[in-house]
Assembly symmetry: D2
Homo-oligomer: 326 residues x 4
């Protein structure tokens, strides 16, 4: 099998992805998009920073928007299981020769900042401020009714290396795309929290963030969002979908925020908690892995992504993907 | 207004579109598509002819499939209100110099066969054999759960002429596309039964049948059909969608039968029974009229259609449509 | 057949039900219910009167709320096809010895006011002010996303007489409940606009308005309304449902406005335009006619209704219905 | 807080609930219910035993039906994380003075059989035969489209004791009902796999199994099942719903199998992987905890349950629940 066997006892225990910090160039425009259109809830707003959570989340934030001169991704955040895991994580990253720092982050207790080997900025914490439940405060539901952050998807210039690294810290591969010609893994989906993925990596100039995804109740909420965006000035922000991915079986829509950061709206993948879950292999030549129903993705979807602060991008050694697109 | 005012008291009373007879080259393949995949119900099958109805229909058939050497459309059928309407229709078509014949049609009482001025073969009847209701026999629901035939859409080489003709026999325009440059109507949607259309006409080499549409309960049934077709050998038969039309506001999917006849699966248009309903105008340059959400249609959707038996096709005098497509 | 054959050529042409005028005791409370909770759109508000329309309606109002000392129903409104129909209607009602008056009604042209033989106040018009379409202004959709007024349902002390009267003016029976013991019709559903009903009558002390119904896109919108009402102080206003009626096949929910006027939220009945559509008979002893899935209705649903201004109520001669209820 | 704090490092690692073995009196009748009506897939059938799985499961079985003279529950099965967990579990149960046995179970590797202190028969395994994925074999989807087994709900004569026991082996409380008068916990919901529960306990004569639940894609699938059951002879098997639970926020339906075993169909709870997730408290006097929308449950739902083989039932010391029911 071209993907590594899962590490059942990783060096520290990651519960799930937690949050992303985006740099954005016009916070009011971003607020109109994330709050008034997608329906995320504001948990704090001050001095050019906006904190958001989704409807069933009790942690303080899943998105932090910071006004800046140019758009970028400042950090990807993950929640650890228990306090000792934080120290184990710090030791482990240091042992790999990766940068380790303890940082002050509003609404988060002790927070470890580091990078993965490709330069993606990561932070880990155990405790974030908890807020009262609002999942049954139905008058607050709006837009696409986002329930929770679901996953990060990243371009990687060396997907095999990315998978090996995240496998080593406990992420388990659920599905992957193999380039049969080169024998290399083209893309991989890896989870901690029991869905198809918390993180995914796709071959391409990297590291870059391809998208952050939010889980919604049903495909009809995605149709509602399409109707809303296409009649409120966001037509050009609709990039791809609606459709069903072969990989993950998810019903999806991709939209772009005012700075071009890509957001996936997503529902209906499957439970993956079994440690002996067999990864599903897809062939790079099978277009149904991307869209089960056959419609191609636009070229922008294959080529554009958000840069990570402080990371140096490199091209992939693999030849360009055979794009089937308009 | 570039479309004619509705004729409130037409020469005869058409209730609704009723049925289409398709010639198909492999009846077993057609049955697998229409019955096993779409979920239409067989009401008779004998000697190379298959009769189908949808779940809430009590008339004997909405589709007749006849095995033949080449695919074509034999006739479009319409139900009239009362027996005197049949004779009024015969008189009216004869007065227009159009062919008139009384034909024997299985399961239909007195049936009038004629053609519109462009050559489209039409038949009118008042009484078709009625079958017991099955709309609450839920174990029969299958495929996309088709409830009823909804409309015919045709290529016309002279849309203004087509609209004028069908307006004269009582169809009322609900929406239309205008070519602002030429001042011509590019496409028109016309109804009798109280939805957005029983018939529609689009500029192009004609006459040809662009598609026959079926009404289904919700968008989720269309998603179910996409999942089914894309995993049972019908991936290449999925042509366009799912999406929302600007025109008609319908949620749609277009699929092709084994002979290339195009079927639209459709739900959620609106009620149009008011005789003073104002037609909605769309500009030919507005791509949202076709897909509210912006995704373009494939070239085949603009160019391919089914020929009518015995009709002579001509090219439109209008210049080719600005196709925004892959 | 215990219901009369349809009159194919009635004395005047009713297009559809149009609007209801409710008297309510607290207009602000009614607005909170109909506008903020159900999602109807305000088209005018002045001097203790509120006009509302649903999302796909282009006529000015489907509900008129008038502040008053006690709740009641002032009138049920219907749209006629053409101007001559108004005069034919006036003549016909006068010939029956029923009251006829021409009244001034805001936003309506020439309006005929009369009563049916049981005393239900009716008004007929041809022309109501038309408003721009908002069915694709998706940011306005709210609450249960009401698309259009669908029907009125009334208690009648003599259902056979009510059906005979409305049949005479062109309403056609689609379904009915028969009391096999007495041979009497217990309830009947009658349409003009091509759905299962514009009006329905059920045995009971009458005349009273049992409910006014609104059509919504899918059952999920009804679930959304239940979630909203049960967490915004309207729990006690949820009376019955969600469920599927055997009769009409509709997915339903019944709620009560702040004055107790009953509103049905409704979707998924079927098309009834065929003049030879056979009425479906249900037996009074079959509980699935009311709820296909078996759950009983509460006693209030059988017993309570809104009084009509100026009508004298009488008890039905039929014995009380065998209520299967908590 | 009246419920215990979660044990972050339990004595062994339970991944999730896995399967239930029901004894049934007529296997053909059970097959018609579980396979032809609910849509579960047969994975083996021989000698009076039927093995079933749901659509996204890759383990061999989630229900085992064994023909017997009287209905009962033979065992509840759970999957452990790794082989050492099996031995740790055996040691732990033995140390509690609970029965421990290694049993041969078809399609399961090493299997530990024991009982909880109330007598509920339990079995634990690490490895069950794995089957190829069928979650994208859409032609197999049928009935309510069951995706996976979700949870067991049990009557317990001492809910505090049940919660304490399952908490000790790693289950974490997500929601609970408190009897404010007695200060006792009336009911509790506890999870391992990241949803609201794998197991739940409600006060009552016990131990008995109240129900086994299956997860489905959307509320519309539950509506489809209601339509199907109510027209195929299963009307009397519909016990309660559809509705929304306050507790867990799930959209639910309860049906009874031919022997009276209760099955819940369920969707839309929320993610609970955070170890610091605060349990939600409900008051026994709040009827919305049971049905957010207010409709009461029938008396049978409160009183009836399935007996466990070999367990001795006792009455609860708490006074009877204030049933609000027909």
């Amino acid at each position: 099998m071209p993907v590594p066997a899962p590490i059942l006892y990783p060096p520290f225990n990651i519960v799930r992805l937690s949050h992303v910090e985006y740099r954005v160039t016009d916070l009011a425009a971003s607020r109109a998009f994330y709050v008034d259109t997608l329906g995320l809830q504001v948990t704090d707003e001050a001095d050019g920073v906006l904190y958001l959570r989704a409807m069933e989340e009790r942690g303080h934030h899943c998105i932090v928007l910071v006004e800046a001169e140019a758009p970028s991704v400042a950090v990807l955040g993950f929640k650890l299981f228990d306090e000792p895991d934080l120290d184990k994580a710090a030791d482990w990253f240091a042992a790999q020769g990766l940068p380790v720092a303890w940082v002050e982050r509003p609404y988060q207790a002790r927070t470890l900042r580091t990078r993965d080997p490709s330069g993606i900025p990561l932070e880990f914490y155990v405790t974030m401020d908890r807020l009262p439940p609002i999942h049954q405060t139905f008058k607050l539901y709006n837009g696409v009714k986002p329930l929770r952050i679901d996953h990060f998807n990243m371009f990687s210039a060396d997907v095999d290396a990315s998978i090996a690294f995240y496998n080593a810290i406990g992420f388990r591969v659920t599905e992957y795309t193999e380039d049969a010609e080169s024998g290399r893994v083209w893309a991989g989906w890896m989870h901690r929290k029991g869905g198809v993925h918390d993180v995914a990596f796709t071959n391409g100039r990297g590291p870059r963030l391809h998208h952050t995804a939010f889980w919604v109740p049903t495909p009809l909420n995605i149709i509602d969002l399409l109707d809303l965006m296409s009649t409120t000035g966001y037509l050009a922000n609709i990039e791809r979908g609606p459709g069903r991915h072969g990989i993950s079986n998810a019903f999806f829509l991709y939209v772009r925020d005012p700075d071009g950061h890509r957001i996936e709206i997503y529902c209906s993948d499957y439970q993956t908690v079994d440690p002996d879950l067999e990864p599903i292999r897809w062939d790079l030549k099978d277009p149904q892995r991307q869209t089960l129903w056959g419609a191609p993705a636009p070229r922008s979807w294959f080529e554009e992504g958000s840069v990570f602060d402080g990371a140096t991008m490199v091209d992939s050694a693999l030849k360009a993907q055979p794009i089937i697109a308009p």
